[in-house]
């Protein structure tokens, strides 16, 4: 599964991952491989990303939206 985290200024992160944890409006949730298509609004918090080589990365966002479609995760962060 691929992830792309973009802000209006730049692309923050792009790469293959196995797990993404996102701060949804109604609480934090995780996305694994082959997740069903989802669009969700995010609140301020940290996005946790586990890359294919098992390293954990964290990105702080102050809100945004996420779209998951065909194993592509797109985070529009602020």
């Amino acid at each position: 599964m691929n992830i792309q985290i973009i802000t209006p200024d730049k692309t923050v992160y792009e790469g293959a991952v196995t797990l993404v944890q996102l701060p949804g409006l109604d609480g934090s949730f995780e996305i694994l491989n082959n997740h069903a298509p989802i669009i969700s609004a995010l609140k301020a918090g940290a996005v946790k990303v586990k890359t294919t080589d098992e390293t954990l990365l964290f990105f702080d966002i102050s809100g945004g939206v996420v779209e998951v479609l065909n194993n592509k995760v797109l985070v529009l962060a602020e």
């Binding site: 973009i6 209006p8 200024d9 669009i39 939206v65 602020e78």
Partner: protein
Amino acid sequence: MANLKEVRSRIESVKSTQQITSAMKMVAASKLRKAQNAILTMRPYARKLQEIMQNVSSGAESKVENVYSVQRTPQRILIIAISSNRGLCGPFNANIGKSVILRINEKFSTQYKSGNVDIFTIGKKGNDFLRVRKFAVLRRDDHILEKLSFETVRPIAEELMAQFAAKKYDHIEIIYNQFKNAAVQILQNEQFLPIVQNQSQNKGKSQIKTDYIYEPSKEEIIQELIPKSLKIQLYKALLDSLASEHGARMTAMNKATENAQEMLKNLKLSYNKARQAAITNEILEIVSGAEALKG
């Protein structure tokens, strides 16, 4: 005919001016590239956001009502004029100022007479232009152009949105130069608030719709997305204006360098003519002197 020394010093001064203008042109070109890059990186974000918004709103049955989409009779108007901090960029800033004045005279003259039109300038030059013409500028914000980033634009957009929501303004407009290419800027007059509902985008509806899970609900997502897209709109206007500014300056400086070249050519010609005349004169004197001696 001008004397030699005069012409020589003029040639020197034109040369140094030309050096300055061509250096400014170079600087503007490199800044333009940077500004263009910023636009290019912002575009995918804006496009994606638009896509998601369309996706969500096409699924929502009822038209979503939002504080930012309420149409009120425009009584208190705010005009945001985006210009630049520095001059020497052709008609760039004057165009903005003129367009603001035209807009006030044409559309909002009644509101202006009762003192209900406020002007918010971003950029020093636009501010000066309007002030000289006796238009009261309510607020100015020049420093954000120096280091333009989404982080600095966001608080301003949020403030404007809050003012609209609090009914301090009924109508907010942005006037700015849109970037087309380095030589061409298009003067834009965009309505910032209330939100313009664009119907024209329904034509792409026939494409296959993916069944998304919406979380929390479509309505709530839209409520989240609208402020975001507004911030993006303001940010985009600023980025566009910045790129246009550098483009305009580059063109203006290019023109100036060319003109200096032309002037140098003419000056050199008259310098050589003067020199030639002086030499001819001298020879004439010598020859006639020799003739006189011969007797």
